[in-house]
Structures are given as C-alpha cells and as structure tokens.
C-alpha cells in the first residue's frame, strides 16, 4: 500500500519539474499569462467593490467582509485549477482522443497524478496570488482579529475550496472518459461555484444554497470558516456550527470523485486506432 502510494506520487514532483522545464522555454509568455490571470481577479474585485459601495454592503456584510470571501474563493479556485486544469473537459478530451492517455495507462503509476503533473498551468498562480492578497488585505481592513487561528481558518478555507474544485474536475474527467467528447456543464460548479462562494451564502435561495453546501461543498468550504474569522453567524443550514463538517464534507466529496474516476477508468474505451 505504502509502496503503491510512493510509486504513484513519488515521481509526481519530478514530472512537475519536467513540465516546468518545458515552460521555462517561453517564460515571457507564461509570465504574461500569469499576470493576466491576476489582473482578471483584481478587475473582478474592483467591480465588486464598486457594486458594494453603491449598495453599502450586502446582507449586512461590509465591503471588506465580502472581499474576504471573494479573495479566498479566488485563491482556492486558483490553487485547485493549478492542479486540475488538465482535467478540464476540452483539455482532457483532447488527451484521450490523441492517444496520450492510452500511453499514460501503460505506466506504473496513478494516471490521475500523471495527467495533473505533466500539464501544470502556472498561469493559475496569478489567480491564487491575487486572491490571497485580496483576502489578506480584506482580513486586515475588516477589523477582524488577525490571529493565528484566523490565518489557519483562511488556509482551511482555501485548501477546502481547492480540493472541491479538483474533485469537481475529477468527476468531470471521469464523465469525459465515458463520453470521450468533453462537456462543459461542470464549469457551473467550478467557476460558477467560485463566483457564488465570493458572496455571503445567505443571499441565495434555500435550494440553491443547499446544493452548494451539501451536494458540492464549494460554497460551504469558503463561507463557514470566514464566518468564524468575522465572528458572524450565517443563516440556518449554513451557519457557523458547520465548521467541523467542512473537512468531512470536502473529504467525502473527494472520495466520491475518486470513485467516479475509478468507474470511468473501467469504462474507458481507448483512443480508437
């Protein structure tokens, strides 16, 4: 078992390094893309600030408080996509159709780790960094106590969000393995989910909120830790008592995603001839 894990992950960092060496060849382009990704997040944040300023906060939340959600959601999405971008339906579908995935399956390691490690897209670092900076600035200006616990909660929120994004895209990849042609429906849960998570969950209708708490823990993973940081409470069903559940929900979702991936592999029909 330990051996299996070592052989799956073991070469992961090596593969990432190899991929990055490929990147360094045209580092200017990649720097530009990374900057572009960061700029996009900043633009969205500015848009939100203008909107919030006009309505003097939303649902009783101040601009800084909402931006804290916003920053964490983007940092988590950036981190998740940094890992899982190669699983996005168009990219992964291409990998299947041109036969590279068949090759991956002849290697003695986890195909999931392989696919992820050989196609890291460093531009997402831009989204992650911009989101993290926005979150930190928002934390300081929100007036909340900047304690080690608050920082730990920020990390928990970011990592939970990232894991959820990876899990969503893993499920998407499993579906792509079955259909070969990629479909974009799951973007509703990754990019759409991150956009939702950027706003206080209480503003959403109950049913929608329930989906993003219980079905796909993309909302809850950002919102609940932030409630604790701000010393606030949320609406019934998505309140601060859920904190202990956040890791459970996220990890359960990851297990479901792993199961979907395995089911996809057993139904995989190959690239054709």
């Amino acid at each position: 078992m330990v051996d299996a894990i070592r052989s799956s992950i073991g070469i992961g960092p090596e593969l990432v390094r190899a991929t990055l060496r490929g990147f360094s060849a045209d580092w200017r382009l990649n720097l530009l893309r990374t900057g572009g990704a960061a700029l996009l997040v900043v633009t969205e944040a500015i848009g939100a600030i203008i909107l919030l300023h006009r309505f003097e906060g939303i649902g009783g939340w101040t601009t800084a408080e909402v931006l804290l959600l916003f920053g964490v959601a983007d940092a988590g999405l950036g981190l998740g996509m940094l890992v899982a971008d190669p699983l996005e339906p168009p990219t992964f579908s291409q990998l299947l159709r041109d036969g590279r995935f068949d090759q991956v399956l002849t290697r003695p390691m986890s195909p999931l780790v392989w696919v992820v490690a050989t196609d890291i897209q460093i531009r997402y670092v831009g989204r992650f960094v911009a989101g993290a900076i926005i979150a930190l600035v928002a934390l300081v200006t929100s007036g909340a106590a900047v304690t080690p616990a608050a920082v730990a909660l920020l990390v928990l929120a970011t990592v939970s969000m990232a894991l959820t994004v990876v899990a969503i895209l893993t499920i998407g990849a499993a579906i792509t393995m079955y259909t070969i042609e990629g479909t974009e429906v799951l973007n509703a849960f990754t990019y759409g989910g991150a956009t939702m998570a950027g706003w206080p969950l209480q503003i959403y209708a109950g049913a929608l909120r329930a989906v993003f708490v219980w079905a796909v823990p993309v909302g809850v993973s950002v919102y609940v830790p932030v409630l604790w940081i701000l010393g606030r409470d949320g609406p019934g069903g998505a309140g601060r008592d859920l904190l202990a559940f956040v890791p459970v929900l996220v990890l359960t979702f990851c297990v479901v995603a792993a199961g979907a991936w395995r089911a996809g592999l057993s139904r995989y029909t190959g690239a054709g001839s």
């Binding site: 190899a18 060496r21 090759q103 399956l105 002849t106 029909t269 001839s273």
Partner: protein, 315 residues
C-alpha cells in the same frame, strides 16, 4: 508468460456493439518472439491494450506475468514495456536524456544499472548524436530508436510493440529489427509484435498469430504457416533471349525484361521435372526455385484458404 482465454472486447452500446476482438485464446511462453499480424482494424491494438491494462475486456480472462492486466495494471506495467508505433512515450519538449532519467525514476531502477544500461543502449542504438535534442526535433527513425531504449530501460520481462516499424525507412527498420532480435536472444525478453509488414515477421518472429475481424484465424510457428501451402512453388527464370515462355503445368505470374516468374504446384509436377521442362523449352541463363512467399500465404489465409491441414490450423 501470457495466457489469453476467450478474450472479447466490444465497443459501443449493446444494441449496436462492434466486436473488435472476439473470443480469442492463446498462450505465449517466456522468451518467445511472436508476431501478431492482421489487416487494419483486425483487432491487434485492442488486444495489446487489453494485455497492458489500458482497456478492460467485455468478457474473458488473461494473465501476463501471472497478473490480470486490468486488475493489477500498475504492478504489471512495472514489468512490461509498450511501444505504440504512431505515438510517443517520451517527453515531447524535453531532451531524450531527460526522458531516460524520468523513466529511471518512474520505474525506480537502480542508479548503477540505469547508468550502465543507458551507456549500452546509446551505443547499440546509435543515440549519441541526438541524445540532448528535444524529442519533437527528432526524425521518426531517431525517435523510434529512442523510444525502444526508453521501453527497455526498466528491463521489462515482456515487450509489446504495436507497429514499431510503420513509416520507417529501410535503415531505421533494420536498426529496430536488429535491436529487437538481440534483446530477445540475449536478455530472453518475451516480445509480442503487431505488424502488417511481413518482413518484420520473417526476420524476427518464431511464432505467428493471425487475427482478422477480431478472430484468430491462424496460430503456428512461422515455418509451419509458411508450409501451409507447401505444394506451391515459384520458379524465377532468366532467359538468354526475350521470348515468350509457355510450360505445361505452370503459369507465368509475372514477366519483366528477360525474367519470368512461374508458379506451379509440386503436387502436380515435381520441381525437378518442372525445371527440366523449362530447360527443354527455352535457353536459360539462370534460374532459382523459391519457397512460397509468406506475404502470399498470409493473403491466402485472409481469404479463408486453409492449405494443407497441419498443427497451424485453428479450429
């Protein structure tokens, strides 16, 4: 080493399923060199993919090195090597030597063995001139040689090669064949090679499996298969003068300048008698008697002719 029992793979929905491989069974001993031939779409790649754990079969079983490929894929992949002719196992943007290094880490080979193997392979496959070049900048022949080196670096017990010589020029083909023959002879590596190049089979394989429409239609040693149409002979005659040639019992298959290709059945006319008839009919500068060409035999097997029944006949 390899056991295949009633292996079937169909693609698509149950109602409109295409049986790419239909109920095939065979066994391959350790150290054997087996050709797996068949026309395009016969099911060769699908078989290789099932035996390497890429695809899960619809029904039937198989073991390779005692493991069920699709159940124990990772453990098996540690002990087998695969080369798909039209695709690359190497890192496209990295130098060949970096790919070797990643293979070493991936298969966790001992550093000393790895270094020794790389040195030997660079030498035998002539990789030195392009060892530091990125894979995308290699010619097909160079890439295939690098590909073979990467495939044997983990010292696989079984090597699956899916059309490794496709698209290669004569020289690269020869390099690939020499390497594979040596590997099989010296390391005892079991090799399964799919191809539709009969030259590959004649030069390399001891055993030949022929698959068509997903079914194994012939299984035997290359010599047995060749002997399936033993009564067929070909006589190549070089004439002194360019003149028409008609010999009772033989048909002129081809005619080019002073050269004539005659085919006849040794059951109807014994070979010495046929030679005598030719010599009586025309003035001959040279002649040679050839056994039936494997390519012709395979073509006749595809057409469903069985020839002399022997151990190579399948059901």
């Amino acid at each position: 080493m390899i056991r295949v029992e009633h292996l079937t793979k169909s693609f698509g929905k149950r109602s409109a399923a295409l049986e790419a491989v239909h109920d095939i069974s065979f066994a391959i001993e350790a150290g054997d060199f087996v050709g797996y031939a068949g026309p395009n779409g016969a099911g060769k790649s699908t078989t290789v993919k099932m035996l390497t754990g890429v695809l899960v079969p619809t029904s039937g079983t198989a073991t390779v090195c005692g493991l069920v490929p699709w159940k124990d894929r990772r453990r098996l992949n540690q002990r087998t090597g695969v080369v798909f002719g039209q695709r690359t196992q190497l890192w496209w943007d990295l130098p060949v030597s970096d790919s070797f290094d990643l293979v070493h880490r991936l298969y966790r080979t001992s550093p000393a063995d790895h270094r020794r193997d790389v040195t030997t392979l660079v030498d035998t496959l002539g990789l030195a001139p392009f060892l530091e070049r990125p894979v995308r900048a290699l010619s097909l022949g160079q890439r295939m040689r690098a590909e073979l080196a990467a495939a044997v670096l983990p010292r696989p017990e079984v090597l699956f090669l899916d059309e490794p010589t496709i698209g290669l020029d004569v020289e690269a083909k020869a390099a690939v064949r020499d390497f594979l023959a040596a590997r099989n002879r010296e390391e005892g590596t079991t090799i399964v090679l799919t191809t539709h190049d009969t030259d590959d089979i004649v030069r390399l394989c001891r055993r030949l499996l022929i698959i068509d429409h997903g079914r194994i239609i012939s299984d035997g040693t290359v010599d047995e298969v060749r002997g399936r149409f033993t009564d067929e002979r070909r006589l190549v005659v070089d004439l002194v003068r360019d003149q028409p040639l008609a010999v009772p019992g033989a048909t002129v298959e081809r005619s080019e300048g002073h050269r004539r290709w005659l085919t006849f059945s040794s059951r109807d006319v014994a070979a010495p008698e046929m030679v005598a008839r030719v010599l009586r009919a025309v003035e001959v500068r040279d002649l040679s008697l050839e056994p039936p060409d494997l390519e012709d035999v395979i073509r006749r097997i595809y057409r469903g002719e069985t020839g002399g029944t022997g151990p190579s006949e399948v059901r």
